[in-house]
């Protein structure tokens, strides 16, 4: 009990749904951030066990956020799972090649989201 996941998405509703699903159905502790810079600040303040990171965000997008996290040794090892509306295999491969632990497609099924995360993170 009590693994912490940081959910990063610029869309308030998506963020809340993901947070509720992970808290209520997965039993995780969830923190949220609305942008890349906010996520980085949050990770430094309280490092989570994993980050669910939206790809398309205004300003600093998901991949840039991941790069910034990797540059900082204190945050480099936190596993990141991308959340993306782009479902093409090429996009998935590109994201995985960046060092993401996995990719979750939007829309996700809230009932299976916790299990999906646990699986890609190797927590099962």
């Amino acid at each position: 009990m009590g693994r912490m996941i940081l959910v990063v998405d610029d869309d308030d509703d998506v963020r809340e749904v993901a947070a509720v699903a992970l808290e209520l159905l997965g039993g995780f502790a969830v923190t949220t951030a609305t942008s890349g810079p906010e996520a980085i600040a949050s990770v430094r303040a309280a490092p989570p066990d994993a980050i669910l990171l939206d790809v398309m965000m205004p300003g600093m997008d998901g991949p840039s956020t991941l790069t910034r996290l990797r540059e900082d040794p204190t945050t480099a090892r936190i596993p990141v799972v991308f959340l993306t509306a782009k479902i093409l295999a090429a996009e998935r491969n590109r994201l995985e090649a960046m060092g993401a632990a996995g990719v979750v497609a939007k829309p996700f099924d809230p009932k299976t989201l916790p299990a999906q995360l646990e699986q890609v993170l190797g927590w099962v």
């Binding site: 869309d11 509703d13 998506v14 809340e16 749904v17 993901a18 509720v20 699903a21 209520l24 159905l25 398309m56 509306a85 782009k86 479902i87 093409l88 939007k106 829309p107 996700f108 099924d109 809230p110 009932k111």
Partner: protein, 647 residues
């Protein structure tokens, strides 16, 4: 006034006249001098060179006549062209053809007419040289000779094609210049030295430069693309490319802005010297449309998926009960919302799929793949739906590899089998059979649903085009599935079609060309291979499904000749041959002829037939198509399969 008779060849005659290019042209001295001489010679107030077309007589040259054209029915010339020699009318009032002609009764008061037909170079009588007088008169033999001579003169002017051509050529040149000046495409000619010789206004507008003549052709494009242009012209000089080259480049437009251009280079040989015509089309607008289309897909992808994520997510959480129990009606409402959000999601996916296929973005990943694997995946995907709908799936592993994109084929198969299940009543069977016919892989998915009206059979593959769309919506379809299936099959170079008998069911067929590897696929299939020869698709489905339980590869053929061909090509462990009760074993004997060793089991519809067949040919095993018979068949085939180390 009687109607003017028309010559038999009038249509050709008018065509020949039109080809002269004289109708409605300006007066010309070469004709006017003939009429002038004629009027003077015969001392008549009126003379003309009249050309008779479909509906009128039109004067290329005339003296003393008020109208340049008159209706054909009032024309004297229209009569003159009916004959080879001169038409002479000494007194028009005494001639019933002309007595009430307005030219006779009216101000012109024509009393005399003589006309000499004029022939075009192909011999058609296209008009006349005519003389008219206001008093009756006769024409003596000498005068007739003069008129004939003058006619011959006028005729030689008609036939002076060299002159006509020269005039046309002049017009062509003007026309060509006018076209070049007015088109929106930029046109430049480039000499063999690579320097621009001429430009049209569009090029000047496109590039905003007036100093292009004499400049190198490469200066038209952005610096980093200049080597491409130089290479292209070099290749053409060396004749290393075809007669026309088309490339997409970027022009350097006004103020240095880049202009996407499509360039077509064509060889020109002018005065024995090679040069090039370069046509540059500004494709900014086309690029913009492409960009907007791509953007739209991207926007649909992201902007619709994001709200769908929240919608499906929040509804899914509500329905899961994790947020507390809803009332029965509340939960029903959430289910409705969830089902519709889900449908919207599938619609978005389907639209994106179609768009990617249409844009060529979803290119095929062609590789040898195991058809059995494709079928197994597809069946797995729909088995749950089929069970809930109480629909039995009868299917078999196809025993071959094929060259295809397996993921896409699974998509096609899921779509067809899923549709068949959706439209089947409870308790019905959906039969999925594969066969190799004439080198093509053939998939047939049959249902026992309501069927499709004949006029709907081709339409159903169109976007959102269903037979009874309300019906489809009730079934939860997006209306795009068959279109996607069709596009994928087409991408594979195959064909998809439907057959149906209303009230009895439908069969969807997919034929994929060649690409079949005849060898037994490695790894993905069990070790046995069974051929089913049966023209009743329903029975074939039952037999195939029984074989499926054994996990063997099954080949099905409804046509004996195809089946015998395959038995000759592939090695089968067992052939199950459907026969009637009449004991006709010709096919069994033919099978034995191509493969003497293969065990043949005869399948019959009932026990009575079984008895008769067994009595006629005791050397063959016989099975009936019922539960007991099929169970026995499974046992029998299992014994005939290679030992798989089970005991």
């Amino acid at each position: 006034m009687p109607l003017v008779p028309r010559p038999d060849d009038d249509v050709d005659r008018v065509a020949s006249l039109r080809a002269l290019g004289l109708l409605d042209s300006e007066p010309e001295e070469r004709f006017d001098r003939v009429t002038r001489v004629a009027a003077a010679l015969f001392d008549v107030p009126m003379a003309l060179i009249g050309l008779v077309d479909q509906d009128r007589q039109w004067c290329k040259s005339s003296i003393g006549l008020r109208d340049r054209e008159i209706p054909r029915r009032q024309s004297f010339c229209a009569y003159a062209i009916l004959r080879d020699d001169l038409l002479v009318v000494p007194d028009t009032r005494a001639d019933e053809r002309f007595a009430d002609n307005p030219l006779v009764t009216g101000d012109s008061a024509v009393r005399f007419y003589a006309g000499r037909p004029l022939r075009s170079p192909d011999g058609s009588r296209v008009g006349t040289l005519g003389i008219l007088d206001r008093r009756p008169r006769q024409l003596g033999p000498t005068e007739r000779g003069h008129l004939d001579d003058l006619g011959a003169w006028a005729q030689s002017e008609l036939g002076d094609l060299a002159l006509t051509d020269a005039v046309n050529a002049l017009a062509d040149e003007d026309l060509a210049r006018a076209i070049t000046a007015s088109v929106h495409d930029g046109i430049v000619t480039v000499g063999a030295d690579g320097r621009i010789r001429s430009v049209n206004p569009a090029i000047v507008r496109m590039f905003g430069r007036h100093d292009l003549i004499g400049a190198g052709a490469e200066e038209l494009v952005v610096p980093n693309e200049r080597p491409i242009v130089i290479q292209l012209l070099d290749d053409r000089l060396a004749k290393e490319s075809g007669s026309e080259v088309r490339v997409e480049l970027h022009g350097r437009g006004k103020h240095g802005a880049e202009v996407p251009i499509e360039v077509v280079v064509t060889d020109l040989v002018v005065g024995g010297e090679l040069s090039f015509a370069v046509v540059a089309r500004d494709v900014t607008a086309r690029r913009e449309v492409e960009r907007v289309t791509n953007d739209l897909v991207s926007v649909v992808s992201h902007e619709l998926r994001t709200p769908l994520t929240s919608l499906l997510g929040s509804l899914g959480l509500l329905a899961s009960g994790a947020l507390g129990q809803l009332s029965e009606r509340g939960s029903r409402m959430v289910d409705i919302a969830l089902a519709n959000a889900d449908r919207l999601h599938r619609l978005v996916n389907d639209i994106l799929d179609l768009d990617r296929i249409a844009a060529g973005a979803a290119s095929l990943d062609l590789r040898p793949c195991c058809a059995a694997e494709v079928m197994a995946q597809a069946l797995e995907a729909v088995r749950g739906v089929a069970e809930r709908a109480d629909v039995t799936l009868c299917a078999a592993f196809p025993p071959f590899d094929l060259l295809a994109d397996p993921d896409r084929l699974v998509q096609v198969a899921v779509n067809l089998i899923g549709n068949a299940v959706k439209f089947s009543p409870a308790g019905a069977t959906v039969t999925v059979l594969t066969s190799v016919e004439k080198g093509a892989v053939h998939l047939a998915v049959s249902d026992e649903g309501p069927g499709i009206p004949a006029d709907g059979l081709s339409r159903i593959f169109e976007r959102f085009e269903q037979v009874g769309s309300s019906d489809t919506r009730a079934k939860g379809g997006t209306g795009l599935g068959l279109t996607i299936a069709r596009d994928i099959v087409k991408q594979h170079g195959g064909r998809i079609w439907a057959e149906s008998v209303e009230g009895e069911g439908s069969t969807f067929h997919v034929a994929l060309p060649a690409g079949v590897t005849r060898s037994m696929p490695t790894g993905c299939l069990p070790s046995g291979r069974v051929m089913i020869v049966e023209d009743d698709r329903r029975i074939a489905g039952l037999l195939a499904d029984a074989m499926w339980q054994l996990g063997v590869a099954v080949c099905w053929s409804s046509r004996e000749d195809d089946a015998i061909g395959q038995i000759g090509d592939l090695e089968f462990n067992v052939v199950v041959l459907g026969v009637g009760g009449d004991g006709n074993m010709e096919t069994a004997d033919r099978i034995r002829n191509v493969d003497a060793g293969v065990p043949v089991i005869l399948s019959v519809k009932n026990i009575e037939d079984g008895g008769r067949v067994h009595d006629a040919r005791p050397e063959f095993s016989v099975t009936t198509i019922d539960a007991a018979g099929l169970a026995e068949l499974i046992d029998q085939v299992r014994r005939l399969l290679p030992d798989r180390g089970e005991g």
